[in-house]
Amino acid sequence: MSQTTHGTTAEHEFPKEHYLNAAHGWKSWLLTTDHKRICILYLISVSVFFAIGGMYAGMIRLELVTPEGDLFQPDTYNRVFTMHAVMMIFFFLIPSIPATLGNFFIPLMIGAKDVAFPKLNLASWYMYLMGSSLALFALFKGGVDTGWTFYTPFSTTYSNSYVSTVAVGIFINGFSSIFTGVNFMATIHRMRAPGMTWFRLPLFIWAHYATSLIMVLGTPVLAITILLVGMERLFKFGFFDPALGGDPVLFQHLFWFYSHPAVYIMILPSMGVMSEIIATFTRKPIFGYHFVAFSSMGIAIIGFLVWGHHLFLSSQSVYASLVFSFLTMLVAVPSAVKVFNWGATLYRGSIAYTTPMFYALGFLGLFTIGGLTGVMLGTLGLDIHMHDTYFVVAHFHYIMVGGALFGYLGGLHFYWPKMFGRSARGFFPHLSALLIFVGFNLTFFPQFILGYLGMPRRYHVYPEEFQVLNVMSTAGATVLAIGYALPVFYMIWSLKRGEIAGPNPWGASGLEWQTQSPPILHNFESMPVVTEDPYTYHPPAQEGAGQPAAAHSAS
């Protein structure tokens, strides 16, 4: 594989005309309606919020090195973990893959000139900017201490921190999500090139379609929840205040009706990236294409029906909890379908160990751990023991970092040459992937044990016997931080100095690899016509030299 690409890239020249030099000046960026440029605007902004969220994570881990609370006051610590979650969830993970890679590659993959509503696409970035700026403002004024879940009546009645400001920020940011979702669904329905039937769509598209469904149908419920909280704080309407006859558990239902599916907003696009990477670097079609496509839809639909598993310890009836527990286990089925099918795709594939493939293989293992511990937590009896412990923290970090973030980073490495025309590969990308994998596991695996032993989340002090595991976790976080910092350097370096990629550096199938890198303003010279199924890889004789012959003769 690597020999193939090295052999071919030497002949490529950097294209003279492309979307990056189609127009100049700051206005051409801030007023652009080109989906590729909007991707880059988003890429820069979500990276900033990832860095801020990461710094808060560092502060948490630093405090937890010692059992005593020696770095922060309890109230400060509440603000630190809340801001970590708010920044990471609302301003990094939710827009991360859809607004960057999705924005760039959905039109390219289906052979369109742009998304369906280019102005709405730009508006979505401005909504994101407004929402995130409000959250930043609240951060500099002192932040929020309620936890990212904003549970009432603490958030509505007692908290003196900047709840309203952050809530308005999240409300505005919701528009950005909804605009993106509407845009993607309309694009996928109506903008496909001739011959691009539904079952010729790359699985990346299916995953984003399912994600968009959640964005469109879930986000407004969070919006109304925030509005009800806002009315309670501003006008003392008492929707969630027990003293006025309000029902705090209603808040939890409404909140999790969005916020559980929001987890699938984070993980589904990542699964889409996984399918693309695995197909490319095994040089095989994804095993059970239809099942993987429908499992995305299955996850999105069943995902809407499981929110009650966050309320097992509230006043929710036991019968409702039983149903929610059952539905939670049901959502593991389409997730497992994906994992097994990726596994089957690897079988006898001609595997190339590139950096994106490292992330994909890491994803497979980590997502499986994260998913299975999720099933454990969905079990009624066990959840009562594990509830609000570090076991839960470790579980969702395996999904959100080991799953969503690995997909984001893998996808970024995979698509980087297409986006900028130059490759970032070699020793440092490999090293970074390795550091992130090792650092991640060292950070979060001890937290499973801590949680199982009973250490509660959101506390800044803990009994001395938990110190060894906490120090391990902090050490892992340090390794993780170095792993995250490396790409900043080598990726920026590659923009100028990386080797010229050519249209298809990975030898991948798909329309996005047929146009030049970086693509021209309207993506394709002429309207592409699709004649074959996705992930059609031809025998090595047609692909060029350098394929591992043994692997192919075996398959």
Binding site: M191, L217, P220, V221, F239, L250
Partner: protein, 229 residues
């Protein structure tokens, strides 16, 4: 009749045909409306929750609302939908900017009447000490959870307020459309090929009407029989 001498309606660069542009635009609008359904759905979920918890208080609350005014306002809103349909028809059949504008002016007129009536209804609540969190005194005392009538009025103000806000936004958009029509802006040329803006906005306006069609029975009619029964 067709005084569309201003020029051709616009086909945006990323579409191949007018047909594709139209279908895409309506699909986007329907998705946006699906989003709106979920948005109001959250508020209706809260309504169902509290109505189940405090049925007597909600009946007591309903009886404080004036069903006659509510009914007449419903008719006014339906009239505004009729004029909206007129504007959409004029655009679809290339009847020219004047007729489109006439339909929009009519819609703004009836929408405005609705909001003015709503203003006086709200004023009456302030006078009768029925504003939650401000001057609320439960209107009926001898029922279980009498104090929870306040939640009914919180929902009343919250839900009708959001509905009114949607109308105000809609009227703002109509003002922009009228501005475009009167100044002959290229994006405001609507004819047989491209009337997507008018028709898409029409869908929005009808949706806002339908929300009221649900709000009216939920808030005014359920349990609103006279106390003497």
């Amino acid at each position: 009749m067709s005084s569309q001498a201003l020029g051709e309606s616009k086909l945006h660069h990323h579409f191949e045909t007018y047909e594709q542009q139209k279908e895409t635009s309506f699909l986007g609008m329907w998705l946006f409306l699906a989003q709106e359904v979920m948005f109001f759905g959250g508020a209706f979920a809260a309504y169902v929750n509290y109505r189940t918890l405090y049925p007597e208080a909600f009946v007591a609350g309903s009886q404080q609302l004036d069903t006659t005014i509510g009914f007449l306002n419903t008719l006014v809103l339906l009239c505004s939908s009729f004029t909206m349909v007129y504007a959409v028809w004029a655009a679809q059949n290339s009847k020219g900017p004047k007729k489109i504008a006439l339909g929009l002016y009519g819609t703004i007129f009836f929408g405005g009447i609705f909001l003015i009536v709503k203003y006086f209804e709200y004023g009456a609540k302030f006078a009768h000490h029925l504003v939650p969190g401000y001057n609320f005194i439960p209107p009926v005392q001898d029922i279980p959870h009498a104090e929870s009538t306040e939640i009914f009025f919180a929902l009343y103000f919250g839900m009708t307020g959001l509905h009114a806000l949607h109308m105000i936004v809609g009227m703002g958009i109509m003002a922009v459309m009228l501005f475009g029509l009167h100044t002959g802006k290229s994006w405001a040329i609507w004819d047989r090929k491209n009337h997507n803006f008018v028709e898409g906005f029409g869908l929005y306006w009808h949706f806002v009407d339908i929300v009221w069609i649900f709000l009216f029975p939920f808030l005014y009619l359920l349990g609103a029989h006279p106390p003497s029964f």
